[in-house]
């Protein structure tokens, strides 16, 4: 080795040690912090095909048999206990894992909930929900970002988004997006990382994101085992793969002990305007099986884990002529965890007769989506009432559902 090569070796190791001095994290206090996972079903999940009062005549008349849950036959659902108005609500046939979680009292179902704003646009509804508001106004950051910005989180990776960062986390510099820890690295000469760090040294969003990314490459590459071996098997069927891989990444990151506190996972494809029965069946299978695997994989974390599943709206009560359903209003949410008073349905059920519906066509929203998120924030994530007001402006948690232990 000549002198010059030696110098090069030196400079690259110097660059590495300079990097690492930035990256000394303390992991104290992480042990008693909750972990909140938000799953967003993009496209408008048909709440009335997921959980419905199966002998309601209005329900039966509004939909062809393959777009509803039935008492008998091929689409026979899983009959639930502790329902709203003591009606015979049942879960979709493919949601057996969710039914088991409900039976074990880990899963709560909140029905007829959503955004108290009459929009039936995906774009509008997702935008408003993720910004934590109910009417268009000049708000640019997401509600989860506002929550994170209130907290002093000292972990290496306080927040994680699968694939890309959803609007709810926009405006937080504590979040990283990652599809797989193994791939979270930069190819090419290792010295490029240090050089990029010096090139992106301003204070724009891009500069900060690059700094955060480079910092996290090292943490993640140190912490992650070569290949993740989950403690249970995740579903691997084509329809479940993408969602189940995202959940696997979240579980892996939680176990890496890098202070993960908030994670979001997007699950798309719920906009079922046509041939719904087949698509909805696959999606529901993917949702239930993956969620069950994820929950079991994290059995050591059950006491501090809360999972919420939501969508931008439900779908029309009456099905259309292409065997699908169009955009509706009232939707469904799930809450999962040891700290959730599961095995029970929550919310207020108005009924499905035309005069009981919103605008005569859609399930009415009787519970503001922020009630559910607000209860999680105040009771599991230690948010005070004044701070909740900053996360959800114009909202009071005046009628909590009481679904948290």
């Amino acid at each position: 080795m000549n002198r010059r090569d030696f110098l090069i070796g030196c400079s690259s190791s110097l660059a590495v040690s300079a990097l690492s001095s930035f990256e000394t994290f303390t992991f104290s206090e992480q042990d008693n912090k909750d972990i909140f996972v938000l799953i967003f079903l993009r496209g408008g999940c048909d709440a009335l095909n997921m959980v419905a009062p199966i002998s309601d005549k209005n329900y039966i008349d509004a939909r062809s048999q393959n777009l509803r849950i039935t008492e008998t036959g091929e689409n026979k659902g899983w009959l639930l206990k502790n329902t709203l108005n003591q009606l015979d609500f049942a879960l979709h046939k493919s949601a057996k894992p969710l039914f088991d979680l409900y039976q074990n009292q880990n899963l709560a179902i909140i029905h007829a909930c959503g955004l108290p704003n009459g929009t039936r646009s995906h774009f509008d509804a997702q935008d408003l929900i993720e910004k934590g508001i109910t009417k268009k106004q000049n708000v640019n950051d997401g509600w989860l970002a506002r929550y994170l910005n209130q907290k002093q989180l000292d972990g290496a990776i306080p927040a994680l988004a699968s694939q890309n960062i959803p609007l709810s986390l926009l405006g937080s510099s504590q979040v990283i997006s990652m599809s797989k820890p193994q791939d979270f690295n930069l190819r090419g000469d290792p010295r490029l990382k240090g050089l990029l760090k010096s090139l992106y040294n301003g204070d724009t969003l891009l500069d900060k994101t690059v700094q955060n990314t480079l910092k996290n490459i090292k943490t993640i590459q140190q912490k992650q085992p070569k290949e993740y071996l989950p403690s249970v098997e995740y579903p691997n069927a084509w329809y479940a793969q993408s969602f189940s891989n995202s959940l696997k990444t979240v579980a892996q990151t939680i176990k890496m002990d890098v202070g993960l506190h908030v994670a979001t996972v997007d699950f798309g494809g719920w906009d079922t305007h046509e041939n719904q029965s087949w698509v909805f069946d696959s999606l529901t299978k993917a949702l239930s099986e993956s969620l069950m695997a994820f929950y079991n994989d994290l059995s050591a974390y059950h006491n501090k884990l809360s999972v919420v599943v939501m969508s931008e709206f439900g779908r029309r009560v009456k099905s259309n002529y292409s065997n699908g359903t169009d955009h509706g209003f009232g939707g469904i949410m799930f809450a999962l965890g040891k700290n959730i008073k599961g095995g029970k349905m929550y919310g207020k059920w108005n009924g499905l007769a035309t005069e009981q519906l919103d605008n005569g066509v859609d399930l009415a929203v009787t519970t503001d989506y922020r009630t559910i998120l607000g209860e999680i924030l105040t009771q599991r994530l230690n948010v005070s009432t004044p701070d909740l007001k900053k996360i959800f402006p114009d909202f009071n948690l005046s009628n909590p559902l009481g679904f948290i232990r």
């Binding site: 010059r4 110098l7 997006s177 190819r187 000469d189 090139l199 994101t209 955009h327």
Partner: protein, 514 residues
């Protein structure tokens, strides 16, 4: 002169030596003029590349080399060849469009046209993953957009509404009375024309309540408009050989078909305007297209999007206003879109916008290949390489199309994957897409500083910062003097250093913007 080049970067997929030379000679304004009147016959370099390029696809776990065969086929030829249960390569027509899109972005003389074709593909987004018949008919969809990209919006809108790709994607092919399928009608208002800002359902429940509706000029739309428009489009479908549910079958020609048997022919009201019952074939749907295409909100919504594409994420109101005026004054002009583009691209607001736009991943990769003059031989890995970055042309799932603001693209996952894709395309060979970059340099270039300057002037021909030059030169020098001939361990060491310096420039803040 450097302003001319900076502006050229904003309406192209990046400079290459020939383009820079041309604009230096004729100036930006003349270049823009010629770009707005593209002549297919004068696209010599692209045409040569297209003729000589083959692509490879995986078939039965083996790589097969193919020539382009689908792009010129008629609807009937595409459907009779691919719309059969036993045909395995249903994605082939779509892959050819994908590969051709890369070739054109890399080599076409008509760069602004390519930018606008990409713009309209995003505006009228379809995804081949939603339905295999979208993949089969994608060449037709691409042709429709190419034909009308500088033309008249009302004409383009109707062509899109009758395109099999869109009819499948937003389910209208299946919409019949009653209840109609609302998917297309809703996105027609929200995403194709008036825009979400004009959706006033949270404010008004009945059509009459919308301000100015009684004068047939409502300021926006509500669900009642969506319901009625959906009824207007019942029966707009595709002749794809399927059962017509009335005891017969449609022919399998792959063409647009209006089927009266599915149409809801009774009276309707859309945007305050009454439609009488029992209109002639398609009259209801065409009337809806007339109403939405001429609505002032449509002008505002689309002009804003065009300004966002070419100026900045938040374009100034002043230029949007000017563009809207031109749009509205040219509603019937066959060159309406061209007039609007001319207004935007010759404005002061545009001239002041250099560097304000972050390249999307496709733009980044293509501009790097263009400036380094690297050729590609497309294969399926190309789709994967780009998809990793979050950029999925013709496969974006939701009808919104790809976001056009930096805040979406600048997240850790997408930054890493865009850089890794760049590294893979330029410096690695495992994907078999690009031939390795030629690292030869004129022999008089000896010192690290000279080497750095040589490559910097290729990637950043207009200007680059002194600090970037220093970093690049130091990287080559490896701790030695940047003005002294460096000692490379061997040829491999030399190539490794130069290659990684090139990658660094391509990943630098200066190369991420246009």
């Amino acid at each position: 002169m450097s302003l001319d080049l900076l502006l050229t970067q904003k309406i192209t997929y990046g400079l290459n030596p020939a383009l820079a030379e041309k604009v230096r000679k004729i100036g930006f304004q003349s270049y823009l003029e010629s770009q707005l009147s593209p002549k297919e016959s004068e696209d010599t370099i692209y045409f040569q590349k297209f003729q000589s390029t083959t692509y490879t696809i995986e078939q039965n776990k083996k790589l097969e080399t193919r020539n382009f065969t689908c792009l010129k086929l008629s609807a009937q030829e595409l459907f009779s060849k691919f719309n059969k249960p036993d045909v395995k390569e249903k994605n082939l027509p779509a892959f050819e469009v994908y590969a051709d899109t890369w070739l054109r972005a890399l080599h076409s003389e008509w760069q602004l046209k390519e930018m606008m074709v990409e713009f309209w593909h995003n505006h009228f987004n379809v995804s081949i993953l939603a339905d295999e018949r979208i993949a089969i008919s994608l060449p037709l969809y691409d042709t429709t957009i190419r034909k009308n990209c500088f033309g008249n919006f009302r004409v383009l809108l109707e062509a899109i509404s009758k395109s099999p790709a869109m009819l499948y994607y937003l389910d209208n092919y299946n919409s019949r009375a009653s209840p109609a399928n609302e998917n297309y009608a809703r996105e027609l208002f929200e995403l194709h024309t008036l825009g979400a800002e004009s959706y006033l359902n949270h404010l008004y429940n009945r059509w009459k309540e919308v301000p100015n509706a009684l004068q047939e000029k409502p300021i926006g739309y509500i669900d009642e408009d969506v319901y009625e428009a959906a009824r207007a489009f019942t029966g707009w479908t595709v002749a794809d050989g399927s059962d017509n549910q009335k005891g017969g079958r449609f022919p399998n020609t792959g063409e647009f078909l209006y089927f009266e048997g599915w149409h809801d022919n009774y009276q309707k009201r859309v945007l305050g305007v009454e439609f009488p019952p029992n209109q002639p074939p398609m009259a209801d749907g065409l009337k809806v297209l007339d109403l939405v295409a001429s609505h002032p909100s449509t002008a505002k919504y689309i002009c804003t999007k065009i300004c966002r594409r070419f100026i900045s994420d938040n374009p100034p109101e002043s230029i949007i206003k000017k563009a809207v005026e031109v749009w509205q004054a040219n509603l019937k002009n066959p060159q309406q879109i061209k007039q609007v583009l001319w207004t935007i691209l010759t404005s002061e607001e545009f001239k002041e916008s250099s560097g304000k736009k972050s390249k999307r991943p496709f733009e980044l990769l293509v501009s790097a290949l263009r400036s380094l003059q690297i050729d590609i031989q497309p294969n399926q890995m190309l789709v994967y390489l780009l998809a990793q970055t979050g950029h999925t042309p013709f496969m974006w799932a939701t009808p919104t199309g790809h976001p056009d603001v930096a805040s979406y693209w600048h997240n850790p996952n997408f930054l890493l994957t865009r850089w890794n894709s760049l590294i893979a395309l330029i410096s690695e060979d495992w994907h078999k897409i690009t031939k390795p970059l030629n690292l030869q340099m004129p022999s008089n270039l000896k010192t690290p500083k000279e080497i750095a300057q040589y490559w910097l002037s290729k990637l950043l021909p207009i200007k680059y910062s002194e600090s970037l030059l220093q970093k690049c030169a130091n990287f080559i020098a490896g701790g030695g003097d940047i003005d002294e001939e460096p000692v490379f361990y061997d040829e491999r060491d030399r190539n490794h250093k130069i290659m990684n310096m090139i990658l660094l420039v391509a990943m630098s803040p200066e190369f991420q913007i246009r």
